[in-house]
């Protein structure tokens, strides 16, 4: 379940690792959220965090393999949008960008 940082409560368990926009790890998946980590997220401009509700199964293995949401949009991009990806046109744009970036990568690495 994705929550805004303001909705987080100490004791909730992270379902996915939280990273800064520079991809620096702030807190690993499976760790408990504390007052301090909420302050840290706000300092780094993190807006949304995936947490596991009590009784919900961990999806750590899945999310680490595919750091994308169910529509194929990388979390890395969504994180940088603030709330902007709620807009349907922005979602189309992000999906198209994810497709184009996937196509480009093999060429630029080769």
């Amino acid at each position: 379940m994705i929550l805004a940082v303001d909705e987080l409560e100490p004791g909730m368990v992270l379902d996915e690792a939280v990273r800064t926009h520079q991809d620096q790890l702030l807190l690993e998946a499976g760790r408990r959220v504390t007052e301090r980590s909420i302050r840290l997220f706000k300092t780094w401009g993190i807006r949304r965090v995936a947490v596991r509700l009590p009784g919900e199964k961990a999806k750590v293995a899945v999310s680490q393999a595919t750091p994308e949401d169910e529509e194929g949009i990388p979390w890395r991009l969504k994180d940088r949008c603030g709330g902007g990806w709620d807009d349907p046109v922005m979602r189309e744009l992000l999906r198209a960008a994810a497709r184009q970036l996937r196509l480009r990568r093999p060429a630029s690495e080769g």
Binding site: Q22, G84, A96, Q100
Partner: protein, 281 residues
């Protein structure tokens, strides 16, 4: 430095960088309807660097001419006066802001890549809209953040504070007003006027961030607004902060595009960025 002092200092025209004399001369010539391709070519040919850059450009896949263009006169005739001016501006503008600090220089390089990304994206959007002033829109994209370059060069610490605040979710124009007492959009417009660039260009530079004057942006400003978002989504360089701004609904309505156009626009942006970047850098 107190903010009111900064406000007084920024508008001073003599503080703003000047374009190389050849480029200014070329801009003047192009504004004069009596100028011929031969007149223009003669001035360009006096400058070996400009000549080499122009010939490299017209022979690149950016234009895709079948045969090789060997002379400056021919290049001018093939791509037109406006395109020549725009490309010489492109290659000259970023030489104007040398920075001695390696950290600042890195920031400038990233901003240059962001500007180039925005320029090729703006051109791709305009092409999808079947506009024919692609060159002009390319330059609008390229120069949209020129005010930022001035601010970073003159007030590096303040510019960094602005970027940090934007990364935390603040609107850039508000953060700049607050910390610097002016915005990169306003500085960019002043610079464009100082360089005698077309007024549509100056307006696009000033008006590429929401909220737009009068509620809706004009077409060029709307294109630059979307192009800025595309360059950020594709992670071409960095505009100083990592945020992807929300697409303004009024700008989107102005463009009358369908989201189905995104794939083609993004693909062409990436291809042009790699191609043109390789000979401008």
């Amino acid at each position: 430095m107190s903010r009111p002092a900064l406000r007084r200092e920024l508008p001073r025209i003599e503080d703003l960088p000047t374009l190389p004399r050849t480029v200014l001369r070329i801009t003047e010539l192009i504004n004069d309807p009596a100028t011929s391709a031969r007149d223009l070519a003669r001035i360009i040919a006096e400058d070996q660097v400009l000549t080499a850059r122009l010939l490299k450009l017209v022979n690149s896949s950016f234009y895709g001419f079948r045969r090789k263009i060997a002379t400056v006169t021919e290049a001018v005739l093939m791509i037109g006066f406006e395109a020549v001016r725009n490309h010489l501006l492109t290659t000259s503008v970023f030489d104007l802001f040398p920075s001695r600090s390696p950290a600042l220089r890195r920031g400038q390089e990233l901003l240059w890549d962001h500007s180039l990304g925005c320029a090729v994206a703006a051109k791709a959007i305009a092409a999808a809209m079947r506009r024919d002033n692609l060159e002009e829109i390319f330059v609008a994209g390229l120069l949209h953040d020129i005010g930022k370059i001035v601010l970073i060069a003159k007030f590096p610490a303040e510019a960094e504070a602005v970027a940090a605040r934007v990364a935390r979710g603040a609107a850039i124009l508000e953060a700049e007003e607050d910390i610097l007492g002016c915005t990169h959009a306003a500085v960019g417009r002043r610079l464009a006027e100082h360089w005698n660039l077309p007024s549509a260009l100056a307006q696009a530079i000033e008006g590429h961030h929401p909220p737009f004057a009068g509620g809706a942006p004009d077409e060029q400003a709307a294109i630059v607004h979307l192009a800025d978002i595309l360059a950020r989504v594709l992670e071409l360089g960095s505009g100083g902060d990592d945020r992807i701004p929300a697409l303004d609904p009024a700008a989107w309505r102005t463009l009358r595009l369908s989201p189905t156009a995104f794939d083609a626009i993004l693909a062409s942006t990436l291809a042009d960025f790699d191609d043109i970047g390789s000979f401008l850098r």
